[in-house]
Symmetry: D2
Subunit: 366 residues, 4 copies
């Protein structure tokens, strides 16, 4: 009798983030509970992060260009957090629902699984609650968390870059010291090698013509974190970050430090030698990505995230009409991103800031 | 004044698993709360899983050979679960604490981070609560969860294999249909290609001589799961599995389906075409590893886990004596596994069973 | 450096309710996550419950008469729940912030404790997030939960009445069979003895003249609940209900069944004799209020809640100006309810419906 | 197919307490996760608290005299907390299971509800997991929490007393200043008026002869708590305390400060006037029991708990044999307490210490 039941859109312990909304509904938003009181929040910085995610910033992104004006509804008084729940909302303005049918399932998308999970009662328009659009409130929440982290620990910085798009590769490996000063946030294409841009743009234009899409790998780093944050086992830094990273639509892989490459090393190579220099402890290499035993060691936290190509494509695909129970070949309409990865780095940074604030609040000393 | 604070060793929603104990303490164990009542548990199956993890099973494993006798303390009556908390304990019997010093930090290990995190009050002997030894109660818990899952859904099966050890590679890619019947659980070396064994054994013997260690990649699959289990965003199947997988010591990477390889595909290749056959819906390929939008689609769930080489090695390493604040070169004692990956597959299966039971209980229909 | 930190406004396990907003902010609202999909929600019933709570319904209530128009922002599609987060909002329309000073502390109110807790950054206008106004979204959430409960178990009914206002007492004790048909929800004054009304109205008018306020006792009952809902210890029916009841501003006592009167009985009187009649099990008395060992026994759940008199009064009071650190005698402005208990019964019912839905979802059979 | 499912025996946020065991099982125990590291724990103080709860201390208590020897299994190293999970166990030694039948339901007890809830698979011997015996690990956990609280805030003290047993009443109302020095923990009968003792002992002997039992009211106070601990709404001090207090078997009512008596006062009487004296803020009266808006105000926290008479009595009672589905009159065997309230005060204190530590850890400043 009941549709299946489960809370899915609230995360956290010491801060809790709740996200709500659908791609074609009235509004989308988030509630952040557990923020310390008295923290100044600069809404310009939030807008800057929203813009990095916005389709408005990329002519090669989806033709759906949302205004992304947000409003703070509660928990904010005299430009500072009050400590009680902070709610933010963004109205949806540029929806075109007629493109969507609940009966023809888009391969690679959540159409079928949402249908089974919610017994057909899901809002199917534009993917509903499953839409990448819901990452906009995550960026707001993450941007706020970054500012809170900054007021707790001014040294903490987040960075991200695109390592590869399909087979176009930027530099994979960097020395850990490079991350201390690397900041690509002002670049439209956050590559170290900016000469890749024409190659990338041409490739995107090609797949647009084909009605196809591309994926890639994003790398994210967090510097300025003290040693001793995190926990063994279930609340390890890797566990908390991964649980959030895998909640971003299209993420299918996560690796920390040297990740899968560590499996090809011997222990004597993989182990990062510990050194002390003027009383400061560091490691010579950073194969462990700044984390040992689930706890930060003071080195940069580094991880890479695999983003699959956007499943919504215009090209003909084999699928089914589930109501008619028949195999069909179908060309889907609906606007989409040919290369969503351009808009993803700030989402990765944002969700990492949420994870990190939660971890740091758990480990504050009395 | 306070040492840092945080719950780290309890996980779950509808079932909660609590693990406790230290490598060289009196006993290690787990409490499982939220089990349905009236489920028959066969302790022989638990012992079989414990044996797959046990150093007793591998002459090339650590010389510390623990008996791993477990006792069910509560929540079990007339060979069935009562529904109230089930507590299990294993006494530690083969400890040799004199090998451990709290002052010389093992590179790649949690010695330094645990020291900072717990302000020097951690039980440092054998890694204390950070030890891989604590995965024994996880295997017990997972083995019980497998049996509970089996009584809910008799079709569900867990499998695992070693894909690679250092640069020795077994077959990487299989057709999804192969997983439906693949069972390597009786094999000492769970390779598809058993002819790799002499090569592997020779390589392990070599690194033992060098006082070094090896890592590798484990693949795990779960078949017989219905579509519709899981959730969008924070409680996605990937999020729940990854949060547990990354809590296993030595795990540094996780990918689902084609994982990082998906980033090299176009959308039209990555999308799994949906087909219907006699009313049964399936996909032609399984690049998404059985999960779309965080929810199962009825195909086998497949993921791969990167295991770094055991950090405890006998070879000379550069490290520090933190009390003397001096750089040293040190040769550590303490028994260890030269190739822990041999004992890991059942741990991966077990922790996945915990994640899956939690997910399935969340999505049961009324 | 940090203001104190803690999540305070999210509750639940299988459903999670998040409330947000301040008395004089833009809007107040709630997010309900974990609702089953496909449940029809009748917004007229929500409005009916909101009206029972509204100051508009009582000329003797506060002169602040809020419109209480609510809007469903998400999680609702084609008049049914989608199963993803349902967000509701009410705009604040009738605020008068100039009456409030952050520096003169209202006795009996949260002014001082909020000031210490949030280090002076709280929104002090009208009590901010501490205001009874935030119970409006709780009524919305509870009204939705009632409807969900009704579709799971059509027999379940909620009732409430005022047992006493100051020293004006309605009938204290009823036979448990009386509750099966008792429904006072259409009455403006939910007394069994309606002849008390003139006495009550006169008493309220008296305290209005004095600039004072009154409290009282509310009784709530839930009928039609099957035996077997709830849990021993921490998730007992009493624990879950009490944790929510005590979160309502002004609640200072809760008792189940015969409550404090049970302490005057002997075991042989307090124990409810168990009987069977045509296969139906029931108890002769209901001193335990429908709950044994934290679990429902199929009898009506009955509890009483002590509501203290509204702390905001107009009468002169001894208090301090905390900035000047001086003792003063002060007459507060700000509109208030002389007898808030009139508006409380539906709040008690609503929050109980939230608790009960959470409990029932936890105990649904597979 | 499934027995009903739910976690019931884990509580907390920043510390989590898990309790396990059955009255007649091998052992009972608890796991405490989230303790700060480096806290000295004096096991003599734990034993002292266990003794206050022990039937050994009262000749008029149950003839079942358990040794209550406990052992710390983990999380404790060099007499200090390590910060990782602390597990404690007590073996059961004095069980007599033959007295119990699963088929004849004890009125007032959880026999029927546990049977329905766990579908007949519960351990029915001595009440199984529902037994008051499980409060022994709660006392251990609470005693540890008291010591941790003491090292965070040396001023914090817990006290408790019996206010009434059946109709024998000790002084009900005290001035709040009296609580600052009141300590009855060394008294066998924690009455202020020790002359009540012969009256009480005679009354208990009478009900023993009758095969009956008595209940009463316990008052508990916590002094030395700073203002600003706690939260509005769902994590209010009252909510957290009440949720734990109602998890103690036999508790049926809880009131804070003047509790139900507040409902008879006017606002001007109920409001505690705020005063400042040499910079110290306090209230003249303490009707609110040290809590406003869910947050401590620095005054003593005071609450009263209604304990129903032990349901297990020897007197003939009307009940059913559920298997035969017949009404019977039955005389139960099984040892029991004629006046459990004698052993309850330390349990109330202990569970309050758990609640308070959780609250304080949530509100520590960074």
């Amino acid at each position: 009798m009941l549709g299946v039941i489960s809370v899915s859109s609230i995360w956290g312990d010491l801060i809790k983030i709740s996200i709500f909304g659908e791609s074609h509904g009235k509004a989308i938003g988030c509630v952040i509970d557990g923020l310390p009181s008295g923290i100044s929040i600069d809404t310009k910085l939030i807008n800057k992060d929203l813009l990095r995610r916005s389709a408005k910033s990329y002519e090669l992104a989806t033709p759906r260009k949302e205004a992304d004006h947000f409003e703070i509804i509660s928990g904010f008084f005299n430009n500072k957090t009050t400590g009680t729940p902070l709610c933010c909302m963004i109205e949806n303005t540029d929806t075109r629902s007629k493109d969507y049918s609940p009966e023809i399932l888009r391969p690679g998308h959540a159409d079928y699984t949402a249908y089974v999970r919610y017994k057909g009662f899901q809002d199917y328009r534009g993917g509903g609650h499953f839409s990448g659009r819901i990452t906009a409130p995550l960026v707001i929440a993450g941007s706020i968390c970054k500012q809170v982290l900054h007021s707790i620990e001014p040294e903490i910085k987040f960075g991200s870059r695109i390592i590869s798009i399909e087979n176009i590769n930027d530099k994979k490996t960097l020395n850990w010291k490079d991350y201390l000063k690397l900041d690509l946030s002002e670049l439209k294409y956050p590559f170290i090698n900016q000469e890749l841009i024409p190659k990338v743009e041409n490739r995107i234009k090609e797949v647009i013509k084909e009605g196809d899409s591309l994926g890639g790998i994003v790398e994210c780093w967090i510097t300025g974190i003290k040693a001793g944050i995190g926990n063994p086992f279930f609340d390890s830094v890797e566990s908390e970050l991964a649980s959030l990273l895998f909640s971003i639509p299209a993420v299918k892989g996560v690796e920390f430090g040297s990740g899968f490459d560590l499996t090809r090393m011997k222990g004597s190579q993989a182990n990062d030698s510990i050194r002390i220099d003027n009383g400061k402890i560091y490691t010579q290499t950073n194969n462990n990505g700044g984390i040992n035993g689930g706890i930060t060691n003071g080195m940069p936290i580094i991880f890479r995230v695999a983003i699959k190509p956007t499943p919504t494509i215009k090209k003909e695909q084999k699928t089914i009409n589930y109501k008619l129970k028949e195999n069909i070949i179908h060309q889907f309409r609906g606007r989409h991103d040919p290369c969503i990865i351009l808009r993803v780095p700030v989402v990765i940074e944002s969700i990492s800031a949420i994870a990190l604030l939660n971890l740091i609040l758990k480990n504050i000393n009395g």
